[in-house]
Symmetry: C2
Amino acid sequence: MRSPAANAELALLLEVAGTPKPGNVDRHRDLAELRFEHFLAGAVGAREGLELAADGAAVGPAFERAVEEMAAQKGGNTQFGALLLLVPLVRAARDDLSQPVAEAVVRETTVGDAASFYRAFDHVDVGVDEPPADMTALDVRRGADAIPALEERGLTLFDIMERSVPGDDVAREWVRGFDRSFGAAERLAEADGTVSERTAAAFLSLLAERPDTLVATRHNEATAREVTDRAAELVADDALETDRDTVEAFADDLVDRGINPGTTADVTAAGLFVALEHEAIEL
Amino acid sequence: MRSPAANAELALLLEVAGTPKPGNVDRHRDLAELRFEHFLAGAVGAREGLELAADGAAVGPAFERAVEEMAAQKGGNTQFGALLLLVPLVRAARDDLSQPVAEAVVRETTVGDAASFYRAFDHVDVGVDEPPADMTALDVRRGADAIPALEERGLTLFDIMERSVPGDDVAREWVRGFDRSFGAAERLAEADGTVSERTAAAFLSLLAERPDTLVATRHNEATAREVTDRAAELVADDALETDRDTVEAFADDLVDRGINPGTTADVTAAGLFVALEHEAIEL
């Protein structure tokens, strides 16, 4: 049986292999500078940090380690957001991989965990928004330089996540008990076909549900909304089953326009991990 | 920097992702019952055994562990042969990843390593030939049942490999100082393009060089020879650069005919590992 760390790494690999995943790197699509093999290397690199979490390390240091080694490839940020979901979920799996336990794990994070989180930004460029005015000193793009301000205010990693909602649906998972991640696992279990087909179905349904916050950050709210509306039409038409070419065309169109729903991919990866751990999908 | 075990796992992933790889599962091709995601799960599963080898465990037990966890997916044998090359190479990398050190590692294997190797066959179905008449008691398909005969004759794992040549080009690597594996690393370094493109080029040139022994086992010598001759024509025409469609058609044709040059893939994976460790390819 695969260990939780192995399942988390496998979830990262299955996520990127799932196709079509409109706008993102998938088994059949690369971006100009960010290719499939960067995601393979990112997943392999993340394993050590995931093992730390599985062994009971604190969430922040395990996350920082996972990110540092994930970033040891030339594609840039591949799985930062996914790891921010997977690390606490792997930590929860030591006890029981349920929403209440995952919620307890993140609520128990410390100021030290928050400091590790800030240090993680020194290892890789992450697409984030301008912080609110009262949070300038805590801009994550400052990396470790923001740690004194963080310690002065006594903010835990959970506090930081709470302040990132709305606007970051990875942070929202922390605050809402990983609701969409566990929901994604259910969708993966209920979908038909191979794991790749189930992944594509779960991704599209998540994209149809809420505008992707990475798209909103990198482009704007209207673009994120447009993408979600289109995804919702495709889901309503059951297009993955009945008109797959249209979904493939949508995927190509988003890649061509540089619109990459990365947050939706992060939640998909978290869902794959939960589904693997619960043996709700088999491969 | 990635550890040797991480690089070995990444080599397995890059090997299966490389495309076109005529006859085998690749980024764009699945077989009927053996899909891309089975290889992803196989590579993730192998990691623990590879870590054992990196930590100095004996080759046989590390290999058996890698195979056992590699096989924890429903596709069947994905990377048995590749692991038989990677485990001693990872072990060698503790000292120095060179042909003489790799050769010393395999020549120092024991009867105990051979017993572990036989036990590995209990974990997964591997495509192997009938043994020679004087080796019936040592038929690997007997798995652990063959261990008493093995111990009685005092055969080490190296001895077993020596007796498998010719007819098994993975075993041949053990006996010939991993000559083609290191040669494949040089080809990967010298080829142009992305790692996927380099992998496709190295695979085709290996296939053009010697008939694949898995094809000879599963089909016959003539089929293996025909495939190699065709690969040699494509290499002579520089077809991957000048007429890629023809290589893609050859790849599809072999998949359709159920001709899977798995030994060539194994050597390609070993070459990828050496190239990653020597930083001869970057990604």
